[in-house]
Amino acid sequence: MYIGIDVGGTYTDGVLIDGSKVIKSVKIETENNLSISVQQVLAKLLLNQENKNISRVVLSTTLITNMLAGIKKPPVGMLLLPGPGTNPRSQNFCSDYILLKGAVDYRGRIIEEIDFGEVDNAVKYFLDKSITSLVVACKFSQRNPFLENRIEHYIKERYPQVDVAPSNRTSGLLNWIRRANGTAFTLFVKNEYDKFMQRFEETIAEHEINCPVYILKADGGTLPLEIARQYPLESIFSGPAASTFGALATTQQDITGIMLDIGGTTTDIGLILNGIPLMAERGIYVNGYLVPVRALALSSLALGGDSAITHKNGQLGIAPRKGKACYLGGDSLTFTDILVYLEKSKLSSHPKIELALKEISKNIGRTAENIAEEILNQFIARIDEKIEEMFLRWEEEPAYRIFQIISGQETRPQTIICLGGPAQSIGSILAQKRNWRIIVPQHAEIANAIGAALAKTTLKMDVLIDTEQGRYSTNLPGLSGALSSRLLTLDEAKTFALEMFKGKCAEWKLVTADKELEDIEIIYEEGFNIVRNWQTNGKIFQIGLQIKPGLVNLLNEGTDAIE
């Protein structure tokens, strides 16, 4: 049996799945202490459960999002080695930094040496400000980590009180700003994240569960807990990934459509194309800063079922909630109340709803019905805007190869998979308003936990091999080095890359059976002749490999499609 838990901002959802059937599901309000929410959900799921033959536990958590909420500038110092190029002073780094000498070029050649006197001064500058966590980031450190690692060792030897991390071990992505920011955020969250993981392991042990435990990543893949502990940032925004994979698990494996997940305070919109969610390959924003975390491409709307109805100068609007909803006996007229009033919701009505609507009605001189309809239309219009944004993003995804452009754009899908609390209501409204296919799957309200439970382990690796420099590098943290053998042909390079990929899978325990290795696919392969003075001096190979994101299992309970 599988367990999936999604700790969201408002609710924590849990699900117990046997093969392809939901045995039990739990939804509770999320506590301030997330560890307690996890404990509660797990306890409820396993209560009176005789068969405790659990083979897989996957946790998706909003912990990192919470930890970073409101953190404008993590108390981390950066030692930056920019080399030639853009002015780092105009770049968006998330922490204070000192610029140092030392540079590497795109081939991994050292083109400027380090000045260790500068390093000493920089460390002292940060120590004077009581900053003891330092990032070292050098452009092209994934092509050659030598300078970053030299500085790391130098600081470790002389300043044992300093926690120093080189950017090449956070990510090998070709984007030093993202690597630097990612490393800074990682340094900031890693201790607390580690403690949380420790408590989670203990909770699992208390329930005598003895199976692989995974953490859901932002791209919808999973990592074994002990590996995930080293890369806390990877788990950020895993909630929408859980929902997206939930949409897949509860519909069809090869579905194409918009994923619309309406939560309490936010609505997430994603795109699934033939069963593959659209990715933000380069990474995402955290608090306005770019980080190298590969994630699903999502559009988020700060509106949900709990959003409050406002009116100002006769203008109606929807804003974040302040107080308890009317249908629950509170005084805050929410979007859900509007759905209840319009009889679009299965929730039972409450006199407070009409009272609140009458109040507005009096103020702005329009009927309650009229007001409710407009609010509904506003909400739908905001969703439509985000859907359009999503389509544009998909259509304007940059492409660097001829075949990507020739294969052309598919037509925009006209299917919406509605998830979350108000899924049923919004689904039927959307179905009335347009001629699209609207799917509200069974278990729509806990599809996120289902997605977490069933998400596959995945890995994507971009390898660059430079035979003239005798080096290889990848997008994965810390994975680069010298070539031990000469690779002459693309086939030899592919074999090399594949072996490396399999090695990483083994190290990270991503595959448990040889059969899964068959899922590895090569997504691109290119060989470039390095020609100097009309002679071929070696080759550069670019190879991309991945285990596609996907599901370990599908639910077979069928779907309710509202047409």
Partner: protein, 443 residues
């Protein structure tokens, strides 16, 4: 929307080359890609990245007589390279961006109006395709093209030689010392477009100083006077001091400076074959300058002041060149009628060599004088490859801003030509390019 952004299409065509060791090969933009991505350029708040698209065949026919047809002269890569220019042109005209850099390959500025094959690594002229597209779709008229590639932009010159509304300026290494061997000061445009073609042939060894001086003292005043609605920069990068095919001494800094001052609306990558030592830095400097960002730290690792210093003799020569152009441009321009001369017909014979494909083309151009419009343009052309195989074609081009009389006359000529062609089979193919009605025919 986001008016201050610079649009970028980066299309390295990692799956296209002329041949494995040819300078125009897959590797060409590899290190530029590395530099631009590592710098986080596509993420920057001042950049909007676009996805390339294919140009339509009509877009090509609006400019070229492709022999025998568009599909014979273009690969998908060519259509994407041209389409990338059109995409940013659209973005610019829709005010989505302040300006744009088409960093795509293959290049195009050696492709002339008649295309029998590849010359100077080019088949189709991206800038010309962009100009005609923008004029047709958005009603623009006066457009300037400033070609800063080290090679004379002879294709662009050829296409707009008789167009008074397109100002073509090319600065380049003197044609006596480098391909294509043209681009001299006396090539000033046809009689209907006199001084709408300006060539600035620079001596080998010209450095940053000379490069920027001719910009400031020749090109800038000409541009100001012409007052274009749009400026396109053919942003070749082979004036760089490390370029293996040329002999100039220009740095990324000077390219940045020129771009900053020129303020092109659209820059289109042309040549530049120092793919490691120049392209990553020059491309970045141009892009940053377009986005009004600081490019002062884009310094090549090989850079030293001596690398861009020009000899005293070169400085003196450039002084003379500047004086020549300042004099020529201040003289009174004779009337169009006088320039056409007695017969009221301009005729020119031209021999064109296609270096990549080893083709020799001989052509004769005829432009008819019209007081109302640029006049009808005819070309007959015969091309032979090294073993003597070849094709002869005839083409008639009706300009976009044609007068009614010439338009009518043009169609009569076309009817007549194809009638004669059917009887006498003088030419293998007949082409009609009616830019006014966007009508392109082939017989």
């Amino acid at each position: 929307m986001q008016l201050n952004k610079t649009g970028l299409i980066f299309f390295p065509a990692f799956d296209w080359s002329i041949s494995p060791t040819h300078p125009e090969r897959e590797e060409r933009l590899l290190y530029t890609r590395d530099q631009i991505f590592e710098e986080g350029i596509p993420d920057s708040s001042y950049i909007r990245e676009y996805k390339p698209r294919l140009a339509a065949k009509e877009d090509i026919r609006r400019v070229h007589f492709c022999v025998p047809d568009v599909e014979d002269q273009t690969t998908e890569a060519h259509l994407i390279s041209a389409g990338s220019a059109l995409k940013l042109g659209d973005a610019l005209m829709k005010n989505e961006i302040a300006n744009g850099f088409v960093m795509a390959r293959p290049p195009g500025h050696h492709a002339m109006r008649v295309v029998h094959g590849n010359r100077g690594f080019c088949n189709t002229n991206n800038e010309a395709i962009l100009v005609e597209y923008l004029r047709r779709k958005y009603g623009l008229k006066r457009i300037a093209i400033v070609d800063t590639d080290v090679h004379h932009g002879d294709g662009t010159q050829d296409i707009f030689y008789h167009d008074p509304d397109v100002l073509c300026i090319s600065l380049h290494q003197d044609g006596r010392t480098i391909f294509p061997g043209t681009g001299f000061v006396h090539e000033t445009g046809g009689p209907g477009a006199y001084l709408k073609n300006i060539n600035i042939p620079l001596p080998p060894g010209t450095g940053d100083k000379g490069f920027l001086r001719v910009w400031r003292e020749i090109i800038k005043p000409v541009l100001t006077k012409f007052d274009p609605q749009l400026i396109i920069n053919s942003a070749g990068q082979d004036n760089h001091f490390t370029d293996p095919l040329a002999s100039m001494r220009v740095s990324a800094q000077a390219y940045g400076k020129l771009t900053e001052e020129l303020q092109p609306d659209i820059a289109v990558l042309e040549g530049g074959y120092a793919i490691e030592t120049a392209l990553p830095y020059v491309n970045l400097a141009i892009l940053l300058a377009m986005a009004k960002q600081d490019y002062s730290k884009v310094i090549e690792p090989q850079f030293e002041p001596a690398a861009v210093k020009q000899d005293e003799g070169i400085t003196l020569y450039i002084d003379d060149l500047i004086r020549y152009w300042q004099d020529a441009l201040s003289e009174d321009v004779p009337s169009k009628e006088d320039l056409f001369g007695e017969g009221k017909v301009y005729q020119r014979k031209k021999s064109i060599y296609y270096d990549t494909d080893g083709i020799r083309e001989n052509q004769q151009e005829t432009v008819q004088y019209c007081p109302e419009c640029p006049g009808l343009y005819q070309v007959s052309s015969t091309a032979r490859d090294q073993v003597g195989r070849g094709t002869s074609i005839w083409g008639l081009s009706i300009p976009l801003f044609v007068c009614d009389r010439c338009l009518e006359k043009g169609y009569k000529m076309w009817e007549q030509a194809i009638k004669e062609g059917k009887e006498q089979k003088t030419f293998a193919y007949y082409y009609l390019q009616d830019k006014k009605n966007d009508n392109y025919l082939k017989e």
